[in-house]
Symmetry: C2
């Protein structure tokens, strides 16, 4: 009943017009509209109808989707733990002012809570700002932590491509004053490990530095006041050709064509250590303090990445800008590459699956004395990865088990419910994963069918004769093999047979 | 700066008065108040000050708290999986109307989102209503699932006792049309397993049935219209003595003293199969259809619980009412008992740690044709359990590891950062959990100290001589034992030494 909300909004509009003592004609017009909307909704206003849906841009996870989701989480958490990370959690909402002034233009996408008295609250927009608030609040100056949780953005959802209004972020961050580029290099190593591990296909990690971008804008002649807005034009280069970005710079943002062309020369560059060396010799860039610092650190970063053996998938790319305001140094973004084919010369990017960078000023924004804690971190684009893997599972018709049950406790004859319950209780108490059908007298065939459908490998069958003999019949679903096992050995036998799988 | 919110509220009040063209004197008075509040706030209004706190009734989880939390979750999830449960997830918010009319008086505790255009949303209040919505929406008529997620209630927080506005629920539910009381008995078995497993001390699971309560009210002469409100008075018996509850029934709710006394005779009863048998013979109750049904099922339940061997911790308790509107049959609640001592005759309950019951009508409220899916489920009070375990850890001074790192890659001399990075990269790629200090030339002592502090058991020390010899020095932190290990055997050696722990 999407219309009910519209009717309510219209009623509210009418109420406000009346309160504001607006022009009576205008009020009459809006009242007429309200009545028409109510009529469309149907006569049975009194009878409450439920809309059977989740809110726009959100979804439920079915058991099958949860199984895939947990696989992906496990791969990512294993990597984070391999790198010695701790884990924290923060509330789903923050004080509204905690989020204010951190996201630039995107602030309009923040979900606010209704003012029901007390504090003004907003749903978290990412995990980085709550992390910075956590550090400042607890005066923590050094930590390596991960945080996996849902964040909220009132964006236009594109759910088939994994873009939701409620979605998971998987963040790994290193906070603290350290020697340059060692934590930064570790973040890139982590992205490399996770994307390799998940076998999503070929990928490329683009790297740049906010200081190089700002230095480049300065030497090209961009006025200081336009750095941010020109930066956000550059950020569109992964989706638009240079010509369009150029005309946005010149047309909408009032840059002179010469300055734009100058930027154009730089932002089309990408490469490795060789390019860094070349730019360090660039007569203009090398004269800019910020650019020189950024290029020096970029060189150091590439040396460390060489030691990690991962430069093959890293590209220093001057067109990488990234949207968020809070970055201060290295920035990076990992994209999956389409499978190459004969018609396409260069592999085409199909979308970002991880991103991050250095944000040395954010914690200081929360500290009463402005004390800074340098931070660098990476966020894994889990929803996109999840979409890809889900589609792959659908395509492959792989059967995913959604429960871990080892054995079904069944009976061959009637009137054995009590015996089934006694046996399953013994198994549960011994730590065996077991199920029983909730029926007094189920048919053996139905019980076996249930195992086939749900992938339960073993059936422990209680029968009158077996009870007298002190044994249980154990059936292997896949092979239909049946053996009598002494009741006191049953747990051991089930453990042995299911650990071998 | 709690006052900033107050100033904002005051400014908004002034704005509204002006908009409503209120009495000019009143406006002037409120403006003066606003100016005074601003003055109190200090002159530097322009400079934004942050309030460094989490919203009222919420908290962050530190790495140490997360370690305890994950222990508890693991115990609970292991139990749910042992019983063959699948897992689902739903969004943190629902359409507002999905929650409407499900929680009776408690509806006022629901968090609403601000109307920013589009649908009206509310944060979920529990996991049961979203589960029912999920079943109806996907036309699922049979499922056994668990769901662990945060829910939201604008309640008065009592955080030391584990009562928060944002808190976890751990729900296990069985939906489907089955033979009576088998799933209900399994839910109680699960509570028994989890509370035993977590070793929280002695506990008692109280059981009752809404039909027995309603039947009892009927035979005592409570008017139909007062069933719900009298039920909620009975619900207070775990916190108030009978005398107070009685005077609430008679004074506030207008019950006649005779009817109240009659109820009083029943609600002070508790026991086991014997009590059920006695009530089945009760001349009045046995004549009431609902009560008879409820007592019959209660008897069956106790028979199954006897087979599970858990009746020792179960008490059929006529004073158990439970607050929520949607229960239709069996209800239950587990409480921890204080350690007995000589001065107290009966163990005293210190609080509920699990609860649940049967709700056969809830899914039907969402189905367009009102088709019912019978459900029974249990919710584990994880926050309370977590508080108890956290206090226990604090008291015991047990050292909790918050990361899993097996080895620190260290160096004894300067200028070995590159070698450290090369070695740690090899270890990461082999799946070893390893850390390195982010310093070019750290002192060996500092590196060893880091291991002591964080509980890392091994140090792999890179040295110039060792590099020439093709070995790494492996040091056991606890014993200070050092051995040279050939580089190609290092991974195997670390695995062996850390799996033995």
């Amino acid at each position: 009943m999407a219309d009910e909300a519209a009717v309510r909004a219209q009623a509210e509009a009418v109420r406000r017009l009346k309160q504001d003592k607006a022009d009576p004609d205008e009020i009459a017009k809006e009242v007429a509209k309200l009545l028409e909307m109510k009529a469309q909704l149907g006569g049975d206003e009194g009878k409450h109808k439920f809309v059977l849906k989740t809110p726009k841009g959100t979804r439920d996870y079915s058991p099958k989707q949860m199984a895939i989701r947990e696989r992906v989480f496990n791969a990512i958490i294993t990597c984070f733990k391999r790198h010695g990370a701790e884990v924290i959690d923060t509330p789903v909402f923050e004080l509204k002012e905690t989020l204010t002034g951190k996201y630039g233009e995107d602030s309009k996408l923040i979900y606010d809570l209704k003012d029901q008295g007390g504090e003004l609250l907003s749903l978290r927009y990412d995990l980085t700002v709550p992390f910075a608030r956590y550090l400042a609040m607890n005066k923590i100056t050094s930590i390596k932590r991960y945080h996996i949780a849902k964040v909220y953005r009132r964006d236009n959802p594109a759910m088939t491509r994994g873009r939701y209004r409620e979605f998971y972020q998987c963040d790994f961050d290193i906070a603290g004053q350290f020697d340059p580029m060692i934590p930064d290099a570790e973040c890139l190593k982590i992205v490399h490990e996770i994307l390799s591990d998940l076998q999503l296909g070929d990928f490329l990690i683009k790297v740049n530095d906010r200081r190089i971008l700002d230095g480049m804008f300065a030497v090209c002649g961009v006025p200081d006041s336009k750095f941010r807005t020109i930066c956000s034009s550059v950020d569109k280069l992964d989706k638009m050709p240079w010509e369009e970005v150029r005309s946005e710079m010149v047309g909408e943002k009032g840059l002179s064509p010469e300055v734009a062309d100058h930027i154009g020369e730089y932002v089309q560059l990408h490469g490795g250590l060789d390019l860094i060396e070349r730019l360090l010799q660039d007569p203009k860039l090398s004269q800019n303090k910020l650019a020189k610092e950024g290029l020096g650190d970029m060189k150091l970063l590439f040396e460390y990445l060489t030691l990690f053996g991962i430069t093959g998938k890293i590209s220093f790319d001057l067109s990488l800008a990234r949207g968020l305001d809070y970055y201060t140094g290295v920035i990076f973004e990992a994209v999956l590459l389409q499978q190459e084919n004969d018609h396409v010369e260069e592999p085409v990017s199909v979308g970002s699956v991880a991103g991050g960078g250095r944000y040395d000023g954010l914690v200081g924004m929360f500290d009463p004395k402005g004390r800074k804690v340098p931070c660098v971190g990476v966020s894994i684009g889990i929803e996109r990865i999840f979409s890809i893997l889900e589609q792959r599972v659908e395509a492959s018709e792989e059967k995913i088990r959604t429960r871990e049950t080892q054995v079904l406790v069944a009976s061959a004859q009637k009137k054995l419910l009590e015996e089934r319950l006694k046996l399953i209780s013994e198994l549960w108490d011994a730590g065996i994963k077991a199920e029983v059908l909730y029926k007094k007298n189920p048919k053996l065939l139905n019980q076996l069918q249930y195992c086939e459908e749900t992938g339960i490998p073993l059936v422990a069958i209680v029968g009158e004769q077996e009870l007298k003999d002190g044994v249980i019949k154990l059936r292997v679903v896949a092979t239909r093999e049946e053996v009598n096992v002494r009741r006191e050995s049953l747990v051991e036998e089930i453990r042995m047979r299911t650990s071998r799988r």
